[in-house]
């Protein structure tokens, strides 16, 4: 717990009277360690600590009777302000169908979240067509079809035919059937795989999505920002889905990804069931990252 660690640090220090500036510096180092342990990238941790330092030095910490609490509050406020400043709701088109494209690394939870988002929208009165654009992973199409069956929504697939054409035809099909939303599930890929990233650019070009959601595993480590940046530069990410938040990972990757791309965190995956989807609450994530 950051407040405990800072409390312990300051009780050692304040034993000899008021805090000094170097004591504050030590506290800032402790905060940096806490962030790194939470998997926040080194550069995001540094820039965040710089923000806190600026406020801490101006906040009469040196006069405070409860310096640990004051610094932790500043950390929490700054993190909430940072994470919470963006539009966190899914955006839709006025002219249907609205297209949502899910992208990300292998195994991050794209297929599962295609189902989750489809279910959530259905509960809100929007019907979706799920499009199976992963032609590589064994039984990927079967997986999406199984999810479609579970929530009684159609799945458009053309087997292992060209996924770009499948995506384009999927949108056309939704138009034809009068379905308001298209959710395209794509294959997991590395941001450094030029051929597959080009495929994704082509899918985006032919489907003109209103949301390009980067699906990120909450337990991703120091590469999180670089990976997200790779996708963002080539596609333009409009939102982040943070998955597997039902585990005990601190989720610092979320801060790194958001800071690097500016894409708002929109949805949180909290389990394997299709109902396990939550809205994003910046104060909850802030508390979790700070630990």
């Amino acid at each position: 717990q950051l407040s405990d660690r800072l409390g312990a640090l300051f009780s050692r220090l304040t034993g000899r009277g008021r805090l000094s500036e170097s004591d504050v510096t030590e506290a800032l180092r402790e905060i940096r360690v806490a962030l790194l342990e939470a998997d926040v990238s080194l550069s995001s941790a540094k820039s965040f600590v710089a923000r806190v330092k600026e406020r801490a030095l101006g906040a009469d910490i040196l006069e405070s009777l409860t310096p640990a609490q004051t610094i932790v509050s500043i950390c929490h406020e700054e993190l909430v302000a940072l994470l919470g400043g963006a539009e966190a709701r899914l955006q839709f088109s006025d002219a249907p169908p609205s297209v949502i494209l899910l992208v990300g690394l292998q195994g991050s939870g794209k297929t599962t979240h295609a189902g989750k988002i489809a279910l959530r929208l259905k509960e809100q009165g929007r019907r979706s067509l799920l499009v199976a654009a992963d032609i590589y992973r064994p039984a990927a199409i079967a997986q999406l079809q199984r999810l479609g069956e579970q929530i009684d929504l159609p799945v458009f697939e053309r087997g292992t035919a060209d996924p770009v054409e499948t995506a384009r035809l999927g949108v056309a099909e939704a138009k034809r059937l009068g379905i308001s939303t298209v959710i395209i599930d794509t294959a997991g890929r590395l941001q450094i795989d030029d051929a597959l990233m080009t495929e994704l650019e082509r899918i985006r070009a032919v489907t003109k999505p209103h949301e390009v959601l980067f699906v990120a595993d909450a337990m991703t480590g120091q590469e999180a920002a670089n990976v997200a940046d790779g996708f963002h530069r080539r596609l333009g990410i409009t939102g982040i889905v943070l998955t597997k938040m039902d585990g005990d990972t601190r989720g610092g990757a979320a801060l790194s990804i958001f800071e690097r791309t500016g894409a708002p965190i929109k949805l949180i995956g909290v389990g394997e069931k299709l109902s396990a989807l939550e809205a994003f609450y910046p104060d909850r994530l802030a508390s979790r990252i700070l630990g």
């Binding site: 690394l105 195994g107 064994p138 079967a142 337990m219 597997k244």
Partner: protein
């Protein structure tokens, strides 16, 4: 920098940042750095190259633990594959199976993930690709029952090697870890002994949570080794140092891609060499 670069404060700072960027974690990075600085003083190093060389040697030695590969010294050899969601368990089993069928061994895959959509279908395709047999059960059935039946069938058929695929599960989910305990018990009952290898599959892109994964899985079903997947990504997988530190088990194999032939036995030298590029 070059090996002629001086061993100064700027180098140490850059070195620390490289360790952190590789996901070694704050604690492990600090310990390694302190250790190197102490030796640097004692032995009077002047060049950065000396520190890097010593680091490589120390880590290689540290990671080079015995008991890593799957040996077919019992029939059937049974390998239980576990780990959190999406790490590459099913794919790694397909790749491993192919290595052994290529040697003329008979391999059976047991579809112990009865929960996730199309999990058994996915494993069935890997069975086909690798020339392995497969035992599967009904969707949403009891995974322990499938595992028991699968191992029993494998023994009856006289197969050389059995891989048991299990559902991904977060280590903090008590009910799922209890299910894994049951799968382990059932494996022992069907086999009349412990499984030959229990391998934890860890995704190289994972941060510090991998340590908690290793520790909690190890408590529930004693691990014999790790498979580190997705090392073809830009992630370095440095968290495995912290894992090995805690559970003292070797890294058995590494996954280097999605194709059937992209799995290699772990090579400590290779791993350490790529930690910094």
């Amino acid at each position: 920098g070059g090996s002629e670069r001086p061993l100064d404060a700027e180098f140490w700072e850059e070195f620390e940042e490289a360790l952190l960027a590789a996901d070694l974690g704050v604690g492990t990075s600090e310990r390694i750095l302190e250790g190197l600085k102490t030796v640097a003083r004692q032995e009077g190093w002047r060049s950065a190259g000396q520190a890097v060389e010593r680091f490589r040697r120390d880590v290689e030695r540290f990671l080079d633990l015995p008991g890593a590969p799957i040996l077919l010294d019992r029939k059937p050899t049974v390998v239980l594959v576990v780990g959190v969601n999406g790490t590459g368990k099913t794919t790694s089993i397909g790749k491993l199976a192919a290595r052994y069928t290529a040697q003329g061994k008979s391999v059976l895959l047991v579809a112990g993930d009865t929960f996730r959509a199309a999990a058994a279908d996915q494993l069935a395709i890997w069975a086909e690709r690798s020339g392995s047999q497969i035992v599967r059960g009904p969707e949403n059935g009891d995974p322990a029952a499938v595992v028991f039946d699968g191992i029993t069938a494998g023994i009856a058929r006289g197969v050389d090697l059995i891989f048991v695929d299990t559902a991904g599960r977060l280590q903090t989910k008590n009910n799922l870890m209890e299910e894994l305990k049951k799968i382990r018990r059932v494996t022992e009952r069907a086999l009349g002994r412990a499984p030959d290898r229990t391998l934890l599959v860890v995704d190289a892109t994972t941060g510090q949570n991998a340590i908690s994964q290793a520790m909690l899985f190890n408590e529930v079903t004693p691990l014999d080794g790790l498979i580190v997947t997705k090392l073809d990504s830009t992630a370095k997988g440095g968290v495995v140092l912290g894992i090995v530190e805690r559970i003292e088990r070797p890294i058995s194999y590494v996954g280097l891609g999605e194709a059937i032939d992209q799995l290699e036995p772990f090579d400590a030298r290779e791993f350490v060499a790529t930690l910094f590029d």
